[in-house]
């Protein structure tokens, strides 16, 4: 017997549409909120009800806590789904919901707080016996300390100014020999930059992978591990393409990885859906990074291989119900990838782009799922992030999945703002990607804008199209000119008629 009946979705774009879909399937009333420029946004059109929350800037609308809660009360919402971003990991908002007698669909406020503090989270991991990137517990002051430490964790190591930041006062050291010089140099820089030459030492990972665990917990101690997601392909720490499973993991690693994630979740009495993020080195040793206490952008790839609806599970848990699958977690089947379709120009340093969606045709057919937040004619607003759509595909194995994604990208029509569809085409075709050789440095190592230039056939077609277009234009102009002449003569006639009076 469900208690929740009316769900306010405190978000916008594709994730708001995503949550509304599940509400509809579960027979719940979905309530959207919208900022002024979002009046005709897709989530407003899809929801059962929709209410304004203020002007464009997030701070004045989607992040206006008083306003959002007031709308929730007025609309008699009995639960709020925060999506991701905005209030998704905001302890204060979660508490305010409780205070207002509205169910916050997510973890408990205390959990959000505990895991929001990175240092506290690392302690939780350590207590749970989950490795973190080896580093000096505190500041090191003498060269001998560093050498001692380097012996225990091995080279390469990273010297970091305790007061450092923004890449300053950091140096990678690959041998004892190099250490002496590096030590003085780095301390000098630190002193100069921050007036403080205390140093930290940390193991340096050359080519880290970013791999995360999807967990689902009912809040009564039952925690399910729904497989990992590899999110190594990033730019400026923004994920671009995600997949599950990870091509790096074998069964044994996956098992250890899953158990580690579950231990962390249990240690904090986790509730609802969450993601445990790890950094993984070239030897497939994984180190805990942090926990995201929300639904991830890339959650659909997990849904594709497990057949679960993660939002539906969140709603069940929020309703005090057990997970739909009880104790037998579905075994993932096949492979899934997600390409984030973003309004940006990869040829110009991935600069964000805005404007009207002039024409759009989403990929279809076998194994293809779209989660879009836009439609034809829609004007992408400047106030929010530039994710237009998520293209998700499934296939029995990675190679078929990769080819299917390429096919879907090929089929994807999106005109108006610049976008990264062709970029994804390059990425998926790259031999190192095909081999599964990924790291967070993939773009830095392999990408340069030139690779996006169309091939000879395409540019030849472009050349002819331009000529044919120009020809049609000139023919049209000639027609217009004739019309003009006709009107001209009509004029004379009228003139005559007048003077005839």
């Amino acid at each position: 017997m469900a208690r929740i009946q009316r769900v306010l979705v405190a978000n916008r774009g594709e994730i708001a549409c995503r949550v509304i879909r599940t509400c509809r399937e579960l027979g719940l009333t979905s309530i959207a909120i919208f900022s002024e420029p979002d009046r005709t946004a897709l989530h407003v059109l899809m929801a059962d009800e929709a209410y304004p929350v203020g002007p464009g800037p997030s701070r004045e609308s989607y992040l206006n806590m008083e306003r959002v809660l007031e709308v929730a009360r007025r609309a008699r919402a009995d639960a709020i789904h925060p999506g991701y971003g905005f209030f998704a990991e905001n302890e204060e908002f979660a508490r305010a919901c409780d205070a207002a007698g509205i169910v916050f669909i997510g973890p408990l406020p205390e959990t959000i707080a505990a895991l929001g503090d990175k240092l506290a989270a690392r302690e939780v991991a350590t207590r749970a016996g989950v490795p973190i990137v080896p580093g000096s517990p505190g500041a090191v002051t003498t060269l001998d300390e560093v050498k001692e430490f380097a012996r225990t964790i091995g080279y390469p190591i990273m010297l970091k100014a305790a007061a450092g930041g923004g890449g300053k006062g950091m140096r990678v050291v690959r041998s004892d020999a190099a250490l002496d010089a590096a030590w003085d140099l780095t301390r000098g820089e630190a002193k100069a930059a921050f007036g403080d030459d205390r140093m930290f030492v940390e193991r340096y990972i050359e080519r880290p992978r970013h791999i995360e665990a999807q967990i689902l917990a009912d809040g009564t101690g039952r925690v399910a591990f729904l497989g990992e997601r590899e999110c190594s392909v990033q730019r400026r720490h923004q994920k671009l393409l995600e997949e599950t499973p990870s091509p790096a993991f074998d069964a044994a690693t996956r098992k250890a990885f899953g158990e580690a994630s579950i231990r962390i979740a249990k240690a904090v009495g986790y509730r609802s859906a969450g993601t445990v993020e790890f950094i993984v080195d070239e030897q497939n040793q994984f180190y805990f990074l942090e926990v995201n206490t929300r639904l991830q952008v890339e959650h659909p790839v997990t849904e594709m291989v497990t057949g679960l609806d993660l939002v539906a599970e969140q709603l069940r848990v929020a309703d005090g119900l057990p997970l739909s699958f009880g104790d037998d977690t579905p075994t993932p089947r096949g492979w899934s990838m997600e390409a984030r379709i973003i309004a940006e120009d990869p040829a110009r340093n991935f600069m964000p782009s805005v404007g009207r969606i002039e024409r759009v045709r989403f990929p279809q057919g076998p194994g293809v799922r779209n989660d879009a937040g836009v439609y034809r004619g829609y004007e992408v607003p400047v106030f929010y992030d530039s994710l237009l759509s998520k293209l998700v595909v499934w296939a029995p194995d990675r190679e078929q999945c990769r080819r299917r994604m390429l096919r879907a990208l090929d089929e994807f029509v999106l005109e108006g703002p610049h976008h990264n569809i062709a970029f994804h085409g390059w990425l998926l075709s790259h031999p190192e990607f095909a081999k599964g050789n990924l790291s967070t440095r993939f773009l830095e190592e392999h990408f340069e804008p030139g690779v996006l230039r169309p091939g000879p056939e395409a540019s030849n077609a472009a050349l002819l199209a331009a000529a044919l277009h120009e020809r049609e234009e000139r023919l049209r102009v000639n027609v217009a000119r004739e019309d003009a002449t006709n009107t001209g003569s009509a004029w004379k006639w009228r003139g005559r008629a007048r003077s005839g009076r």
């Binding site: 805005v354 002039e358 005109e415 540019s459 002819l464 331009a466």
Partner: protein, 171 residues
């Protein structure tokens, strides 16, 4: 009818021959059968070149035309041979006319990387504009010597607003 088309540094002569209904093209001396139809759902054409199927969007741009094919946007110039001659006497194109860097989106200028008198190379970063929660390096297309800076740091700019003017080196 005959045109000179310039695209990605390549220049080609395209001539049209109409035989009844059909239109044939001659490009680089090669005869091509092309079927060219406007699609009903946009400013876009279906182009069959000797049977190969392409969908191409052609739209007007600041300089000449812009052709979008397979997600790539390519600037193209189409001219009559006559226009072409005049241009060459006139000493050629854009670069010669000098470049003005425009704001591609609304945002805030966080950093000016150049001063008046600086020589800017093609693709060199000139201004950093923050928009959509990201810092974006605005780079020059042709570059040249900075003649004017039209905005201050921290100032808000709107789409298409001129930021920095450059003139060709030695022009």
């Amino acid at each position: 009818m005959k045109f000179w088309v310039t695209l990605q540094g390549r220049e080609a002569e395209v001539e049209f021959h109409t035989e009844g209904e059909k239109v044939f093209l001659e490009a680089d001396g090669r005869r091509i059968e092309a079927d060219f139809v406007r699609l009903p759902d946009g400013e876009v054409y279906s182009l069959l070149i000797d049977g190969r199927s392409h969908v191409v969007r052609v739209s007007a741009a600041d300089e000449g035309l812009e052709v979008e094919i397979r997600g790539a946007i390519i600037p193209v110039e189409v001219r009559h041979p006559l226009e072409k001659m005049l241009l060459q006497q006139g000493g050629g194109r854009t670069a010669a006319r000098g470049e003005t860097l425009l704001a591609p989106m609304p945002g805030v200028v966080v950093l000016l990387r150049v001063q008046v008198g600086d020589l800017v190379q093609p693709d060199q970063s000139v201004v950093v504009v923050e928009a959509m929660k990201m810092q974006n390096e605005l780079t020059a297309t042709h570059g040249g010597i900075v003649t004017e800076i039209l905005v201050a740091e921290k100032s808000a700019v709107s789409t298409g607003q001129p930021l920095v003017k450059m003139k060709p080196e030695g022009a």
